[in-house]
Symmetry: C2
Subunit: 130 residues, 2 copies
DNA sequence: CAGTATCCAGCGCGATACTG
DNA sequence: CAGTATCGCGCTGGATACTG
């Protein structure tokens, strides 16, 4: 048994865990956190492999949870920026250790990319439709 | 854009995120971490609502990932204990902020239970079969 | 550019029952 | 006690195509 001060009880699941556990959620939080403000396409590029549907869905969920905000500009072509709310920022800070842990673990398995990654993540391109 | 030192790149998902994001995984890690050594039934009680199948599955995954270990004693009735490996312990430390964040968030929404929870989590009972 | 609209497969996960 | 066996539903999220 560990020290009492480290005993953490999370009795209810129905809160954030259901959001966090969605495949891309914490990576989106991280992407926006990294950038300060991020556009749809930028997040899409950071998260190599998300489909626009999934990204849109998850962004909506995160908005509903007040973790991110959305600002759209009346321009052509349209521009939309996402940013972390204060709550989102606190969440990001809370997941930093987890992200670092994950990155470190990958390093130990001789994966390619680590943190800090000065060049940013690998770029994925959305296949243009003909 | 945040400070470079805080820029965290996690380019690959196929590592731990897929495990973490399984609904009960981090709660199991936490339960075992809280207890030091935990038996199947104890974890089942901590995690109000898991089915034995899901628990067994997830425990197996976590073993495969070397995050937890398993020791079984040749007794009747059988006794099995789970514990965190060193890697599991480091993971647990990495998720503590996240768990606290979750708990704090629940408090702000006037949920019942918080941390530290000296009485431990609520007990769920496995319905005995006749 | 920043999405929607569909369609659909897979599997996560719960319910229930049984066992060494 | 600590699981396994089976069944099945629902939701996640990928593929693809289209749009204001």
């Amino acid at each position: 048994m560990c020290k009492e001060s480290e005993y953490i009880c999370v009795c209810r699941l129905d809160g954030i865990i259901n959001i966090i556990s969605k495949k891309w959620a914490i990576l989106i939080i991280n992407s926006i956190g990294n950038r300060g403000r991020a556009r749809f396409n930028q997040i899409e590029e950071d998260l190599e492999g998300v489909s626009p549907k999934t990204l849109a869905d998850t962004l909506k969920n995160l908005q509903n949870e007040q973790l991110i905000g959305r600002e759209s500009f009346n321009e052509i072509p349209p521009r939309v920026e996402y940013y972390l709310t204060d709550e989102g920022k606190s969440l990001r800070e809370a997941i930093v250790p987890l992200l670092k842990w994950t990155a470190d673990r990958d390093i130990n398995r001789t994966r390619i990319c680590a943190y800090p990654c000065k060049n940013g993540p690998n770029r994925a391109k959305r296949v243009s439709l003909k």
